[in-house]
Symmetry: none
Subunit: 145 residues, 2 copies
Amino acid sequence: MPEEIAAGTLSTKLNHLFGVVRPADGDEYTFDEVAESIRTQGGPTISATYLWQLRKGLRDNPTKRHLEALAGFFGVPPAYFFDDAEAERIDAELTLLSAFRDAPVRQIALRARGLSAKSLEAISDMVDRVRELEGLPEPASDAER
Amino acid sequence: MPEEIAAGTLSTKLNHLFGVVRPADGDEYTFDEVAESIRTQGGPTISATYLWQLRKGLRDNPTKRHLEALAGFFGVPPAYFFDDAEAERIDAELTLLSAFRDAPVRQIALRARGLSAKSLEAISDMVDRVRELEGLPEPASDAER
DNA sequence: CTCGCCCATTCACATCAGTTGGTGAACTCG
DNA sequence: CGAGTTCACCAACTGATGTGAATGGGCGAG
């Protein structure tokens, strides 16, 4: 009866998605980028302004087609926006998933599976070293929340 | 075996639901009955006419709240109204990736994110080489489906 | 500092989701 | 037979959803 309000608003979920699934180079997607990407990938038109409104919570209640488009872009099933339990389950894996949105990164991960602990450690060190060389910041730890 | 029914359009799915979930005495629910029931159970207002339009396919693309209400009434998850194939594909991807959850592979993937294409390629090659050294088979390409 | 660019935010407006109010066909019960 | 109900169906309208065009702050380059 007393609806659990704070937990599962649409804007909260969208906000989380923006924070977690990012382009290959660090920063969050821009509203324009998302709108553009959805449009070019055969989705319906969606304006950057509207995305902003949804994220800010000024508008909830989008249509089926827009929900489909958003889910498609962020790589989550549409159920993510409805079912809180489902959303939580997916959230647990999202930080990992986001890394895999990048094709090259995904390939590395898939192929690293099954290697010995020692080899993995060596590779991990190498990645860190390269990261340092390229002047990248500390990666977003998955310990947010 | 998962029942293969009610694929495709929203109207098809709704139609199926009307046919399957019925009141105690045989006949299908009336549009008024459904509208009334949804309203009394705390749902949003929804007109009988609109239900008819949706079922007939004159209107697809309802809003989030109306989808929730319909799903609630017929006792199905809201995901029921969305495209099945796509949802299943994404779900499969998510569960596949969850296999990596506790592996050090995760750390590598997370930290490899954002590296230059050249560096990623170098790392990928290295992983392949190590893989070879440890006598592991070619991994399944992720380009299946 | 100033120009130019990118981006979030704002606001006035158009479009389409959803409603209100109606028509007639079919089906009772006097 | 009518008079009264109930239902699918239709059409004109209302307002929330969704858009486009301006505003203004931040930031790098010249």
